[in-house]
């Protein structure tokens, strides 16, 4: 019974399944404010804790989860979940207060006030000591996973980046190394720096609120929880030897064979669609991909400026609007490319290996 359940979970597990599931979960949970009450936190903790305890009885699952370098990630995941709940709980609570005409949480007169000295400094000092003790005990109990000396001629079957870079390592499967490893991280950093210049809305400044900052919170949670945290989960617990995908209860077999005959867009069109060979000139060969790529970054901003995003376009002005759209579309490009690869085995939309440009 239990075994067949595990089999079922393993067989439906795939990156596209988990990504779709997490996007749906995010959307549904933000739609219903009942998700962010204390009771649903208890229910969510009970479900995820129970699921975790049930899974730990499985040998293959335990082997991955109980690795000394994976334990902090598990702890972090529960913390990320809790703090997401906490901030949204306070935000929905404030929305309710505002709707009821009550003062918001941060403006309440009865809010207890404490002094920096000695209260806060003492708390910080105690926290510092507790952290040091925990780190020392941790380092004594769990050994660092040190392996044999590094050898450039021998990459072990399961070669992984540090856990905080696993999102980047996942991206490297979908784009050329310099794009996934240099350009996109730079866009992420610059984009984060550009946020205060794009979003100059003073609403929600200094207090929690969901209703007043719906799009901003949605974009943040999509970019952080899904494109960063989810990819770390995927890389840590589901990517096994040779970067193959493994279900949660699946044995990490080095010799697992996954059919991955990836095809470029140019081959789809020229070879399979038109039945003629690939043109020699790279510009002719990749013209459809290039047009598609340029259209992806040009058409949606134009259409949205006249449609749904009209108010943003009028409020932000052309420069800030285009910058915002470029950042949003770059962010969306990653999951789009992932789905294309997972569903259609599409390798690269534009593939110019002659100039190291593969997207």
């Amino acid at each position: 019974m239990i075994d067949s359940l595990k089999e079922l979970i393993n067989s439906i597990s795939s990156p596209s399944f988990f990504l779709t599931l997490s996007i749906i979960l995010l959307g549904v949970s933000l739609y219903f404010k009942q998700f962010w009450t204390r009771r649903s936190l208890g229910i969510a903790a009970a479900i995820s804790g129970g699921l975790f305890l049930f899974s730990v009885t499985d040998e293959n699952f335990r082997e991955i989860v109980a690795k000394p370098d994976n334990l902090p990630i598990i702890a972090l995941l529960f913390l990320v979940g809790f703090f997401t709940w906490l901030s949204l709980h306070l935000a929905f609570d404030n929305d309710r207060r505002k709707a009821a005409g009550e003062p918001i949480l941060e403006k309440q007169e009865t809010l207890p006030k404490t002094f920096v000295w000695p209260d806060l400094v003492y708390i910080e000092f105690i926290a510092l000591i507790v952290c040091t003790v925990v780190l020392i005990v941790w380092s004594v109990l769990l050994k660092a996973p040190i392996e044999e000396p590094a050898n450039p001629a021998d990459s072990p079957p399961s070669t992984k980046a540090p856990w905080y870079f696993l999102g980047l390592q996942e991206m490297l499967v979908y784009f050329d190394p310099w794009i996934a490893g240099v350009v996109i991280p730079s866009i992420i950093v610059l984009g984060l720096m550009a946020i205060p210049y794009i979003d100059r809305d003073v609403k929600g400044s200094g207090y929690y609120s969901f209703r007043e900052r719906r799009p901003q919170i949605l974009v943040f949670l999509f970019g952080f929880s899904i494109l960063w945290v989810f990819l770390i989960i995927l890389g840590t617990f589901f990517r096994g030897p040779n970067w193959n995908f493994f279900g949660p209860y699946e044995f990490w077999d080095v010799h697992k064979v996954v059919l991955m005959n990836n095809v470029n867009l140019s081959e789809f069109i020229w070879v399979r669609g038109m039945g003629i060979g690939l043109p020699r000139n790279w510009l002719v060969r990749e013209i459809f991909g290039i047009v598609l790529l340029l259209g992806y970054f040009a058409v949606p901003p134009y259409l949205l400026a006249r449609g749904w995003f009209r108010s943003y376009y009028e409020k932000l002005g052309i420069n800030r609007y285009l910058l915002m759209m470029f950042l949003l579309l770059s962010m969306l490009a990653l999951p789009i490319k992932m789905y294309l690869l997972w569903i259609f085995n599409l390798k690269y939309i534009v593939s110019i290996p002659e100039y190291f440009f593969n997207i």
Partner: protein
């Protein structure tokens, strides 16, 4: 509240007390000569440091395998097999197909990890991001954008195979038709 008046008075008293002290006075000229000496010393130290850092780029001994090496006689290589004996030391596979012998660099064309030859699946598989290559070196799965690279292969005077890694042949540039990129025996 902070008492600004008392603060200023204290400051004043402090200054006067210092003036009456009989410390040796520092003149402007003396101060500048110290600055000059210090600046010269700093520049010299910085220059020495950068010179030694530059010298560090040219080590006395290099613990790297030679780029050109002899890989034994062609008869040592079995037909249809990927020979991994030189991978550890020279990062090269030698493949024999019939009377054709070629040497592939064991460097993934995606990000430079070392792929492994999986004999049961008959493919080179890179563990880092899952790129896969046929025995010929042609990429067919995963993110690697181009085939593995061949290195120069020839016969030495004593009949052994001579591998020269200084010369690389890339399939997508049409260099695999170069007679130096393979060996017919």
């Amino acid at each position: 509240m902070w008492n600004v008046g008392s603060f200023l008075r204290v400051e004043k008293g402090f200054q006067m007390a210092e003036k009456s002290d009989s410390k040796p006075e520092i003149t402007r000229r003396g101060f500048l000569s110290w600055v000059r000496a210090g600046w010269i010393a700093f520049t010299a130290a910085a220059a020495t440091g950068s010179l030694s850092a530059f010298r560090f780029m040219f080590p006395n001994v290099l613990f790297e395998p030679p780029q050109i090496f002899k890989a034994g006689f062609p008869s040592e290589y079995a037909d249809g097999m990927v020979d991994t004996r030189w991978k550890e030391k020279f990062r090269v596979w030698i493949v024999r197909e019939g009377n054709l012998i070629y040497a592939l660099r064991s460097v993934c064309t995606h990000l430079g990890c070392t792929p492994n030859w999986l004999s049961t699946e008959e493919k080179f598989k890179c563990p880092c991001h899952g790129s896969g290559f046929y025995i010929s070196g042609i990429n067919f799965e995963g993110p690697a954008p181009r085939p593995l690279e061949r290195v120069r292969i020839s016969l030495a005077e004593d009949g052994q195979i001579l591998i020269d890694q200084t010369q690389i042949f890339q399939q997508e540039k049409g260099q695999w038709s170069n007679p130096e990129s393979f060996l017919i025996i």
